[in-house]
C-alpha cells in the first residue's frame, strides 16, 4: 500500500513534519540513509570518572586511529567532533561534492546534523520574519509546539528583546562558576553595555532541566561534548523514536534517495533510491516531504527537475551564517579551579543590536572546560612543557564567543550538479561586499563588551570560520508569495511538482544571525499543519 506521506530524511525538519502528520492520522514512510551511533558508554559516569573507568580512554576520546588528535600544521577547520559522533558525518560510498568558497558538512545520520548540534533554540524576531510570506502569528503556536516536544530551557531576560518568548519554556540550567562571574560583571556594567547596544543573558537550550518522556534531566556529568548519555540534550533521533511508536509509521533506513520520478502531468510518482544492499529501488509515493537538509534536499530536487527538463539547472540564493570565534580570558578566573561537572555548551549569549533589527548579531558564550586541551596548548608560542604549565593557570579563565552573522539570498551563491555519470553537488559561495566591514565592526564591539566584562581577547586570536562551518544552510528553493518554477508556495509546496513539499532550510528566504534549527522544526510543524 502506498503511504499517504513519504518523508525523505530524518533530521530536525523531517521528524517534526512526520510526527505532526502521524498525529493527524496519516500513514507515513520515512526514507533515510540512517547511519546510527553506538549506545553511550558507562552512562552514569562523570567525565572524570569516564577517564578513570574506561579500559582504553584514549580510543574513546581520540579515536582508535587517533583521528581526533589535532596535529600542528593541519589546515582544515577544527570542529572538535569526538569519535563518538563521527557517524554523524559518515557519507555513503561514492558521495562527493565540488565546492568553491564553501566548506559544507553533510550528514546521513539517523537524526541528521542535529545529532551533533549544541542545542541553541532561538525564535525569530518580528523583523527577521518579514521575508517569510505567511501569517506571522503562525510562528508562535509552532514554536510552542516544538518547545513542548523537545524541552527548551531559558529565561525572560535582556536577550528576550532579540528572541521572543514562547510557551513551554523550562527553567534554565545551573550556571557554572565562570558564567556566574560573567553575569555578575554584566549586571554591574549593564547600563553602559546596553547603551552600546550590547546585551548579555541566558541562551535558550534544548537541554532538559526536568525529565520529559523517556529523556532524563541534565545531571551535570560534564559529558555534553562527548554525547549526552541521558538524552537530556535533545537530538532529532528522540522524535524519531516517538514516531516509531505509531503503527502508521514505517522507517526505511539504508536507502539514499537520488531523485524523484514524475509522470507526464508533473506529479511525483516515485522516490528513486539506491540501497546499501544493491541496485536502484523505486518507492511509490502519494505526497513527498523533502527534508534531507537544505543541501541534500537541493541535490535531490535538482536531479529530479533536470530529469524532467533535460537541461542543467542552477539554484541561486544559498545562505549560511558566517561565524567568527572570539576567544577570551576572564581575568577574574585566572588560576581558579573549575568543575568539569557542569553544563558544557553555551549557557550565556551576547546580543548586539544592528543598524536595523535584521542586522542583529548573535554570540553564544561558551566557557571552556572539558574540550580536549592539546589543540589549545600547542598554539601557545613556547615549548610544550612551558605551554602546558601556563595553560594550567588560564584554563579556568578561557571562554569563547561564537559570533554569528545574518545572510541574504544572492545570485552569486548557488548550487548545481556536476555533469559526471553520478552527478555531485557543485556549490559556489561568494560573500557580499559589505561582509568584511560588518565583521570588523561587530568583532570590535564584541571585544569592547568583553573588556567591560573583565575579559581580554588575546590579539590576533579571533578566527573567521570558512563559509559552511556554521552548518545553517538555507535559501535554494525559497518560499515566495507568488512566483514560478524553482520556488515554493508560502506553505512550502513546490511550484514544479504539486505533490512535493520542501520542509527544511531550502525554503527559507532570509537567514538571521541565529541557529535556525528551532525555526526549521517550527516551520516543519506549520507546513504539516497546513498540508493535512
Amino acid at each position: 500500500m502506498i503511504p499517504q506521506v513519504t518523508v525523505i530524511g530524518s533530521g530536525a525538519s523531517g521528524v517534526h513534519f512526520a510526527l505532526t502528520a502521524l498525529r493527524k492520522g496519516r500513514t507515513v514512510r520515512m526514507l533515510d540513509v540512517g547511519r546510527a551511533g553506538r549506545a553511550p558508554v558507562l552512562p552514569d559516569a562523570t567525565l572524570d570518572q569516564l577517564k578513570d573507568r574506561l579500559d582504553d580512554p584514549a580510543s574513546y576520546f581520540l579515536g582508535s586511529r587517533f583521528e581526533s588528535v589535532l596535529l600542528p600544521d593541519v589546515t582544515d577547520e577544527y570542529y572538535g567532533i569526538p569519535p563518538s559522533k563521527d557517524y554523524v558525518f559518515d557519507p555513503p560510498e561514492g558521495f562527493g561534492h565540488a565546492s568553491t568558497g564553501f566548506s559544507p558538512l553533510f550528514s546521513f545520520a539517523r537524526g541528521g546534523l542535529g545529532e551533533a548540534w549544541t542545542g541553541g533554540c532561538y525564535p525569530l524576531s518580528a523583523a527577521e520574519v518579514e521575508d517569510f510570506p505567511f501569517d506571522h502569528s503562525a510562528w508562535g503556536a509552532s514554536y510552542a509546539e516544538v518547545a513542548r516536544r523537545i524541552g527548551i530551557t531559558g529565561e525572560a531576560d535582556d536577550l528576550a528583546r532579540f528572541m521572543p518568548l514562547h510557551d513551554h519554556l523550562l527553567p534554565p540550567l545551573k550556571l557554572d562558576l565562570h558564567s556566574e562571574r560573567l553575569m555578575a560583571s554584566y549586571r554591574a556594567q549593564r547600563d553602559r553595555l546596553n547603551r552600546a547596544g550590547a546585551y548579555v543573558g541566558r541562551t535558550r537550550v534544548a537541554t532538559l532541566s526536568r525529565p520529559l518522556g523517556d529523556r532524563e534531566a541534565c545531571d551535570y556529568t560534564g559529558r555534553c561534548l562527548w554525547g549526552c548519555p541521558r538524552g537530556a540534550l535533545y537530538t532529532p533521533s528522540a522524535t524519531l523514536r516517538e514516531c516509531l511508536t505509531f503503527p502508521a509509521f514505517e522507517y526505511v533506513p539504508g536507502v539514499e534517495v537520488s531523485h524523484l520520478r514524475a509522470d507526464s502531468a508533473g506529479r511525483i510518482v516515485a522516490a528513486v533510491a539506491t540501497t546499501v544492499a544493491g541496485p536502484a529501488h523505486e518507492f511509490p509515493v502519494e505526497r513527498v516531504a523533502l527534508a534531507a537538509g537544505a543541501l541534500l534536499s537541493t541535490r535531490i530536487f535538482l536531479a529530479s527537475i533536470q530529469r524532467e527538463s533535460g537541461s542543467p539547472v542552477r539554484l541561486t540564493g544559498l545562505m549560511d551564517n558566517r561565524q567568527v570565534l572570539v576567544p577570551f580570558l576572564n581575568l577574574g578566573m585566572l588560576g581558579r579551579p573549575f568543575r568539569a561537572e557542569t553544563y558544557q555548551y553555551h549557557l550565556l549569549g551576547m546580543g548586539l543590536e544592528g543598524k536595523t533589527p535584521r542586522d542583529y548579531v548573535h554570540g553564544q558564550i561558551t566557557t571552556l572546560k572539558t574540550a580536549l586541551v592539546h589543540p589549545l596548548i600547542q598554539r601557545l608560542p613556547l615549548n610544550l612543557s612551558a605551554s602546558t604549565r601556563i595553560f594550567r593557570s588560564i584554563h579556568g579563565a578561557l571562554g569563547l564567543v561564537n559570533v554569528n552573522f545574518r545572510d541574504t539570498r544572492r545570485p552569486d551563491s548557488f548550487v548545481e550538479l556536476t555533469s559526471d555519470a553520478r552527478p555531485r553537488l557543485r556549490i559556489h559561495y561568494t560573500p557580499d561586499e559589505g561582509e568584511p566591514a560588518r565583521m570588523r565592526e561587530a568583532i570590535a564591539r564584541v571585544k569592547r563588551a568583553l573588556f567591560r566584562l573583565n575579559c581580554v581577547v588575546p590579539p590576533g586570536m579571533a578566527h573567521v570560520r570558512p563559509m559552511g562551518a556554521s552548518v545553517h544552510y538555507a535559501g535554494t528553493v525559497p518560499m515566495t508569495p507568488a512566483g514560478g518554477s524553482l520556488t515554493t508556495t508560502p506553505d512550502c509546496q513546490s511550484r514544479d511538482f504539486e505533490n512535493l513539499f520542501l520542509v527544511d532550510g531550502a525554503t527559507f528566504p532570509f537567514l538571521p544571525a541565529k541557529n535556525i534549527t528551532f525555526s526549521l522544526m517550527a516551520n516543519a510543524v506549520r507546513v504539516a499543519e497546513a498540508a493535512f
Binding site: P72, D73, P337, Q378, L382, N383, S385, T388, S393
Partner: protein, 451 residues
Amino acid sequence: MTQQGIFVTGGTGFVGRRLLPLLAGLDRPMAVLVRGGSAGLPHDRATTLVTGDLLAPETYRDALRTCGVVIHLAAATGRASAQALRQVNVDGTRALLGACRDANVSRVLFVSSIAATFPSEARYPYAEAKRAAERLVSDAGIPFTIVRPTIILGPDAPILSSLSGLARLPIVVLPGDGRVRVQPIHVDDVAARLLRIVRDDEFGGETIELGGPETTTMEELVQEIRCASGRPAGRVIHVPLGLLAVPLRAAEAIGLGSVLPITAAQLSSFRYEGVATRPGRRSSETPLTGLASMVGGAPAPAGNAFTPSPALPGECRVFTRYLLGRNPDAYVQAKYTQALAAVPALAPRSRFDEVLIRFAGRGPFAARLADSYASLFQPGSALRKRLVLLLAILETHPPFSTQIDRAPGSASRAAAGIVAHGMLGALSLVAGLLLFLPVRIVRGGIPRKTS
C-alpha cells in the same frame, strides 16, 4: 569516451614543458599553441604546433575542431603588469573559451593558482585575474576541472629566481613575519596530476588545490633555497609588508620595477597562506617529491627518498618526563607505540626533522631545547607532532590528565606561574636557537653521540 585530441596552451611554459612528454604517452593527437619559437617541443607526427595568439581565436580555431580536450596553461605571471595580467589571464581565457564553444570542445582543464584563494585584494592583480578566469571557466557551460597548484618548484622554476634573489643577500630580508605557510609542489608532480585528470577523464566541475608533501613557512623555504645554493642559513630581517609596499610601488611607478627582486603585488605571497586545503591525492599514488629535492634544482630522485630510522625505544619515557616531569605508565607507552605505527604524519619527513627527534630523545632537557626551537621554527615538524600526540594521550588518562589541568588555585599564583614559565620558556628558546641554527646550517648532518 573516445580518444579525443588534446589542445594545449602554454606548452612552452614551465609546467607545459614537463607535461607535453607525459601527454605524448597517451598516444592521442595533440595540438600545441605557440607564439613563435618551438624549441624543445616534441616533434612527432601526433603533435601539431599551432602558431597563434591566445587573444586571437581565429589563429587556432581550426586546430580546436579536432580536439575534444583543452588544457589551458598559458598565463601571465609574476612580474607582469596589472594590465598584462588581466589581458592574458582573463581576456585570453575568455577568447579561448569562446572558441572552445564554437568548436564543441567537451572538456576544459584550467590551471589556476592557489592565489585564487587569497582574500580579495585589488593590490594583487594576479590573484584577481586568476579568480576571474576561474569564474569564466566554471560558467562556460563546458565540463571542466580547475587545478590550483601552490608554489611550483623544480628545475628552472620561475619563482626560484625571485626567491633566490632574496635568499642570496648576505642578510635575508624577508617581507612580513615569514611565518606564513607554503606547501611547494614539484613541477613533475603537477604534470603527473594533470595527466591523470585527462587520462581518467576527471571533468566533474571540481576545483582541486594541489600542494606538495611538506608544509613549511616562507622563511624556511627561503632558507632551504639559500642552503641549496651552498650558503649557510642566513640571518633574517623581517620587514613589515606595509613598509615594503610603499617604496616598491614608488620604484615601479618611476620605471625601476625590472631591477627590483620582487614587485609590490607579489608581496601578497608573503601575506597569505599558500597551502592546499584539499590535496586531491589518492593514497595509492606514488609519493610526491620532497622539499629538499625541489629547491636543489635537480630532477626528482627516483627511489632515493629519505627513509626515517625507527623510533628510539626510550622516546615515550623521555618525552613524558619532559612534558609532565614523571614517567609514563604501561598504558601511555602502549598507546604511544600504537600511534607511531598508525599515524603516518608522525614519521620525520626530512633529515633535519630526524635530527630534532633523535636529539630530543636524549633526555628531558634535550627535548626542551629541541621543542623550543621547533615551537617557533619547525611547528609542523615530526618532533612537535609526536609531542602533541603524546600530550593528547596523556590528557585522556589519569593521573596525567588531572596533572595537566591542576589549577594553581589563585590569581596571584597563576600570574607568578605564567611569568616564571614564560621566562623559562623564552630562555629555552634562546638556548634552542643557539644550538640548532648551526645544525640547520650544516643541513643533513646528524650530530653523533660523543660518549
